[in-house]
């Protein structure tokens, strides 16, 4: 029971309180680039959640069971990026084989997940915070869900912004960033929840 409670706290902490996008600035590129429509945002969120969960867990295993044992910590970054790149490749092949329509609608965004800093960032933060195996698993899944939540909210807001009268210079990225600022202020309300 105690372990479960602790894991729930880890989950809420990384999904809401320390949200990857809004407090750690990870995954800003898809957050600004793919959030124009809510269905695309949701698809992106799902793909990222999937890759994040697997690579967060696998990099934890490689880092703690192999690299630290043989004292080759300095290869950490190279190992992490290799794992992520091959995971993305795997997901891409799997989706292309079994869900062709989904693959069509993702297009270029699927391979681009490799350079999504949310994924590498989560692996690095898990290492930095010294998480155990279960915490790493739950934490990376929570991080992915937090990303999905925020990118979908942004998609919803931007669909409505299409009809708003935005000053010419702020159209596109400018107004999106200002919206993100207001959203961050709202998410600061969660900050008292844990510790």
């Amino acid at each position: 029971m105690d372990i479960v409670g602790h894991l729930v706290i880890v989950f809420i902490s990384i999904a809401l309180v320390n949200n990857l996008v809004l407090t750690k600035f990870l995954g800003i590129c898809p957050y600004l680039g793919v959030s124009r429509r809510i269905d695309m945002a949701f698809g992106m969120g799902c793909a990222v959640t999937f890759v994040i969960t697997i690579s967060g867990t696998v990099t934890w295993l490689i880092n703690n069971l192999v690299l630290q044992k043989i004292g080759m910590d300095y290869l950490k970054y190279i190992a992490f990026i290799m794992v992520i790149a091959s995971m993305v490749q795997l997901v891409e092949m799997y989706v292309r084989k079994f869900f062709p329509p989904l693959y069509e609608s993702f297009g270029i965004f699927l391979p681009l997940i490799t350079t999504n800093c949310a994924i590498l960032g989560t692996c690095l933060f898990i290492d930095l915070w010294g998480y155990g195996f279960l915490e790493a698993l739950v934490g990376s899944f929570g991080g992915g869900l937090g990303f999905t939540l925020v990118i979908c909210m942004m998609g919803g807001i931007r669909e409505n912004l299409e009809w708003a009268d935005v000053p010419k210079a702020l159209r596109g990225a400018g107004i999106t960033l200002i919206t993100a600022a207001i959203m961050t202020l709202a998410f600061m309300g969660f900050s008292g929840m844990i510790k």
Binding site: F25, G27, Y74, K76, C117, A169, I178
Partner: protein, 210 residues
């Protein structure tokens, strides 16, 4: 292919100078192309980390552009993206170890944002768009221009934020003590807001210029 190598070998100073200036302003990574947003927002709460980050990114960009450009004829198919990433990861490891050795405080403060240079889309973007197609010297000029432009943009953002958040620049107080610090500028919300408004301003003035 022949035209491109021709361009890089026969063109003298003006060509690389043009590359340099293009990266600095016309195609500025942050204000014009919106690349490398994550470090941009994360490290610009003050000038010092912004400058360190800019220098580290420029270092990695220059090294990886040189290596990629030198081996551009060996790269094929979609394996090349993997090669870019591995080259960049190797140089980021070097930069990270250098920072740990010579600027331990700064290394601590930047934390995981130094390894995150690996996935800075600016660097992989330049490897793909320039270094894998152009000669070594052109790539060098391009990397320097892009890196300095990135550093410049980081510093502009950091100047605004540090001045409003602490009334200071480089941790030296500039504004009188009666200035009420805008704490929100130090927080993530301040980062998004400043960048949004700066983007709007740069759009406004550049469009007027044309």
């Amino acid at each position: 292919m022949a035209g491109q190598t021709d361009n890089s070998t026969t063109a003298g100073r003006p060509a690389w100078l043009a590359h340099l200036i293009r990266g600095l302003w016309q195609e500025n990574a942050i204000f014009r192309q919106l690349l490398g947003m994550c470090p941009t927002l994360a490290v610009t709460a003050a000038l010092k980390p912004a400058l360190t980050m800019g220098a580290a990114t420029t270092f990695v960009l220059v090294c990886s552009n040189l290596v990629v450009s030198a081996m551009r004829k060996l790269l094929v198919g979609h394996l090349r993206i993997l090669m870019f990433t591995l080259t960049i990861a190797a140089f980021v490891t070097v930069a990270d170890l250098l920072l740990q050795a010579f600027l331990p405080e700064m290394s601590e403060r930047l934390g995981p944002y130094v390894p995150l240079i690996i996935v800075n889309c600016l660097i992989i973007g330049r490897a793909e768009a320039c270094a894998s197609r152009q000669g070594v010297w052109t790539s060098l000029a391009d990397a320097l221009g892009m890196g300095l432009g990135f550093t410049l943009a980081l510093c502009i953002l950091a100047t605004v934020r540090e001045l409003l958040a602490d009334g200071a620049l480089f941790e030296i107080a500039i504004l009188p003590a009666s200035f009420e610090n805008w704490n929100v500028m130090k927080l993530p919300a301040g980062a998004f807001l400043t960048l949004g408004i700066l983007l709007g301003l740069s759009n406004h003035f550049l469009r007027k210029g044309k």
